[in-house]
């Protein structure tokens, strides 16, 4: 079952497992000793990055016992997830210190979450997916409630946990339906089954739709988005950033796999394709409209970013819609996810530097007149906000552009127009904080931004990356083009 080459293939997960055990040990020895835990985490993540990068030049896709896939797609995503987590781990030490949350458990939970996410993006079996989903989600629930003394944090964690648990049950129900219909839980076997199956598909469809609902919930697509603003608002900024990047990316990789679970060329599933597209259209448009219109009414910055995330989910779903009939367009989804993660990473790290005067969390008014007091932070924040809005010369422009192009290529012109209108509405939402920072006089009650030099340098690098990718996106697009979806 295990030969030496298989060991090499699953090396990243083995390293993660050891890292988790080591940090667990570290925190069990003394919970306040965070330096060893932090160093161990950084070491683990770097090793994961290296080992997954080693696997890039795999020519073929290898599936281990039908459960786990090691492919270009999974290795790239794994590399990406660990890189983003590494940035957060390195960058959020100051924030945790400030919030008095700096204990080694944090790192342990982050590593656990990364492990769940990394298995999730490689999972080729419905039950492996479920286990990975739970491994990813449970630490996330704990991290959301990490501010034990803050009632909003506790509330958010509880909401997230219960809703997540409920949707987990929905997933299991759906998976069992699929198993009942197709006789297998492995995606490749289900695909084969769908090719030759000729007959009633109702049972399978019910299962499939339920499974999709569960991951649309994880990706926060409307109308399964309700948890997102409340959870974002309640959780610590660094955790919010991790959720916006790692969990979103992992959820979308699974979502894409689930959408392409069956062979739509097959006679039995031809009518289903149209209906499924219709579902994506409705969900995408709902996400776009809900995200953009509610976003512009928000006063709390984290809630604003939550609705912005829902809005972005709409764009990604639009790109996914384009792939339903043209699977080679899938790179637009990966490119969007990567670009969005870079922007979010920078923005959330930047927000984690803030120090508000009251306990209400970072409000929009806290940014008033920041330009005069802290031009560097203003410039960085403006770059990230404008990136989110999709301004040209930032990566946000090209991510939207590729998604639009891929859906236009599939003939979804009307939905691209709707998305473009939502972009305009969204731009208002993103320009509001920028205008507050730049065009108003400083407000003495506004928030302060204090970051360490190394932290600033990290954020500046991310901002530069946003701009560089906004002018030369081709390199990243080429990378994502290699991430093909194999049934």
């Amino acid at each position: 079952m295990f030969d030496s080459s298989t060991i090499t293939l699953i090396f990243p997960w083995i390293i993660l497992g050891f890292g988790i055990m080591a940090t667990m040990l570290a925190s069990s020895v003394r919970i306040e000793t965070r330096l060893p835990a932090k160093l161990l985490t950084i070491f683990t993540l770097v090793l994961v990055m290296i080992t997954s990068a080693k696997l890039f030049n795999l020519d073929t896709t290898i599936t281990i016992n039908g459960f786990i896939e090691v492919s270009h797609l999974s290795c790239m995503t794994l590399f990406f997830i660990s890189a983003i987590s590494l940035i957060f781990v390195v960058g959020s030490g100051g924030y945790l210190e400030k919030e008095k949350l700096h204990i080694s458990d944090f790192y342990n939970l982050v590593l656990l979450m990364v492990l769940g996410a990394s298995v999730l993006v490689s999972a080729k079996d419905l039950f492996v997916m479920f286990i990975a989903l739970e491994v990813m989600s449970l630490p996330a629930y704990a991290l959301v409630g990490f501010r034990r003394n803050d009632s909003r944090s506790n509330e958010a964690a509880l909401k997230y946990f219960i809703l997540g648990g409920a949707l987990g049950a929905v997933y299991l129900l759906g998976a069992s339906f699929i198993f009942g219909a197709s006789g297998s839980t492995q995606l490749s076997q289900i695909f084969e089954w769908s090719k030759i199956h000729n007959g009633d598909v109702l049972l399978f469809l019910v299962g499939h739709i339920l499974v999709l609902f569960a991951f649309l919930f994880k990706a926060a697509a409307a109308p399964f988005h309700f948890w997102k603003p409340d959870v974002y608002e309640g959780s610590p900024v660094a955790v919010t950033g991790l959720m916006a990047t790692v969990i979103t990316t992992a959820a979308f990789v699974v979502l894409v796999r689930l959408f392409h679970m069956v062979d739509f060329q097959s006679q039995s599933f031809v009518p289903y394709l149209e209906s499924l597209k219709q579902l994506i259209r409705v969900v995408a448009v709902l996400s776009l409209v809900v995200g953009s219109t509610i976003m512009i009414l928000q006063k709390n910055l984290k809630r604003l970013l939550a609705y912005s995330a829902i809005n972005h989910t709409g764009y990604i779903l639009l790109g996914l819609l384009g792939t339903m009939s043209k699977p080679e367009q899938i790179y637009s989804v990966w490119f969007y996810l990567a670009g969005y993660a870079v922007i979010s990473c920078g923005l959330f790290l930047l927000l984690s530097q803030s120090e508000t005067r009251n306990d209400q969390g970072l409000e929009l008014v806290d940014l008033t007149g920041l330009m005069k007091r802290n031009p560097l932070v203003t410039a960085l924040a403006s770059i990230f906000f404008l990136s989110m809005a999709g301004m040209p010369f930032t990566v946000g422009f090209f991510t939207k552009y590729t998604v639009f192009m891929s859906s236009i290529a599939s003939g979804e012109v009307v939905f691209v127009i709707i998305a473009a209108i939502c972009t305009v509405i969204g731009a208002y939402g993103y320009l509001r904080p920028v205008a507050l920072m730049v065009m108003r006089d400083p407000d003495p009650t506004a928030a302060e931004f204090n970051g360490t030099k190394s932290n600033q340098a990290l954020i500046i690098m991310l901002a530069v990356l946003c701009l560089v990718l906004g002018v030369f996106p081709q390199a990243l697009i080429q990378l994502t083009k290699g991430m093909e979806l194999i049934p």
């Binding site: 809703l163 109702l202 469809l205 109308p223 399964f224 309700f226 031809v270 009518p271 149209e274 512009i296």
Partner: protein, 615 residues
Amino acid sequence: MNLLLIVLFPFFGFMINGFMQLRSLKTGHKISSKQSGSIATFAMVLSFITAIYYFIQFSGQQEDGRLIEQNLFSWIKLGAFHVDFSLRLDSLSLLFTMIITGVGSLIHLYSIGYMKEDETPAKYFSYLNLFCFMMLNLVLGATMPHIFLGWEGVGLASYLLIGYWNQDTAKVGAGQKAFVMNRIGDLGFLIAMFIAYKYVGSLDLVDLQKATLSPKIASVVGLLVFFACTGKSAQIPLFTWLPDAMAGPTPVSALIHAATMVTSGIYLLTRISPLLLQAPDVLSVIAMVGVTTAFVSAVIACAQKDIKKILAYSTVSQLGFMFLACGVGAFDAGVFHVMTHAFFKALMFLGAGSVIHALHEEQNIFKMGGLSRKLPITTFTFVMGWAAILGLPPFSGFFSKDEIIIQSLHSQYGNQILFIMALASALLTAFYMTRLLVLVFFSPSRMEKETEEHAHESPLVMTLPLIALAILSLVGGFMHHSEGGHEEGQSIMIASVVVALIGAAFAFFRYRKFDKEEMTNQFVEKGLGIDVFYNKFFGNGVPLLAKGLSKWIEEYFIQNSMKFCTWMVEFSGSVLKSFQVGSMQVYLLMMVVFGLAFMIWILESVMQGVIFYGK
């Protein structure tokens, strides 16, 4: 030898003088007109020598061998659209190059003396070099966009030089007027370029010449190009900027507004002549506009008092002759007249400059008189120019002008109306030029005592170009082999000379003994009210239109619809937001409701689809 050299020398002159000017602004060190002028002149002379080299090379070759092309770099590359930055020299562009660099060198030389008192000669000479650089790009460019580059560049240089004395708002205004009028014409150029690209598929001039278009498209392109030319070459309806452009220094008027830039319209029409020949209607429009401009501006010139304005209207009138030539299909004759006109009109402008210089910026011809004794060289050379523009044999104007008049009757596009109007314009030309000559140089002096005493001949650096141009005005006509000489041609020649002599004699006897200011018709002097009309109609009309638009469209329509949109967005946002109640039970309930709704909807549609697919 490199074709690029012709273009590069003036460019280097422009750069050197420009940097010198910038440095002098910083250091306060003044640059004399001798220093900067000699650099600029040297640049032009070098360019002229290069042109002569090519002239010699060409004269040893057959007609079809006279073509040199040099591709410098790929300029614009957008998908299938591709424009090279390349220079192309053939007989036509060589002739223009010779005029620009040759006459240009003389005028640069003359400027050294003329701008001696000026504060910032380096600026002046850098602009002048910039102009020549752009003009050479215009005539050497191988593609329409390249010509357009030069076309805009000379417009810029012209604007800078008309408003060169920028302390005087009237002069600045004249520069702006010239620029705006030219921009109106440029619109035609741009649209013509777009249409030509759509139907020809290339903007290379060779491809345009070879293209066969439907008469309709050819007419549209031809008319639009001609409209552009009416701007640059000051024809009806866009001619009013040229008399005002005389606000610039006189050498500028000689170079830009007489010899070179204003003839670029003729150049462009000649370049696309194969296209125009496919649209005879456009040709007749060009001929009519040309001859009308020639006549109207000759009438206006008769009532002018300002020496430079007379020459300006005369230029407009002569340009009208050239367009007439193009309009009757005699492009050769038009280009020939460009050359001779460059010689004698530059000569007369420089002569007028010499007079103005001697009289300390006096430009009214009724405050001059009897200058022939004070300014012998200026007088002598001016008479040569006068003889040339009248078309007296054997002066250069005789050959070119008569060729045009003959063609206006005998060419396949010519007719009697054009012929009679051309002759009438020639009569008027003889009248107003003789009037100018007599009043300035030969009639009794009407100057103030002090001015008269200070009047003296200009220095050698200014008279030398005058003499050179006078010689060219005399012999320039022999550079072209006219195929005239048939019976009717000879009789028309005689007729036009007689007409010119009648006009001259009439003016001579009328103004010989003039000693007071003439009471001219104000309406005619003010340019037949065309300027006033433009000011009233467009000057007031456009702001009125803008006001109306801003009130009705902007305030009522756009603002209110925007308000409605923002209200819509906010309203839908707040409605959607009301679902976000914060209660988990409600969230779960809604997810279940939506999920069930989706589920039923999809299964329903799939079932229908299955029936539809016939399973």
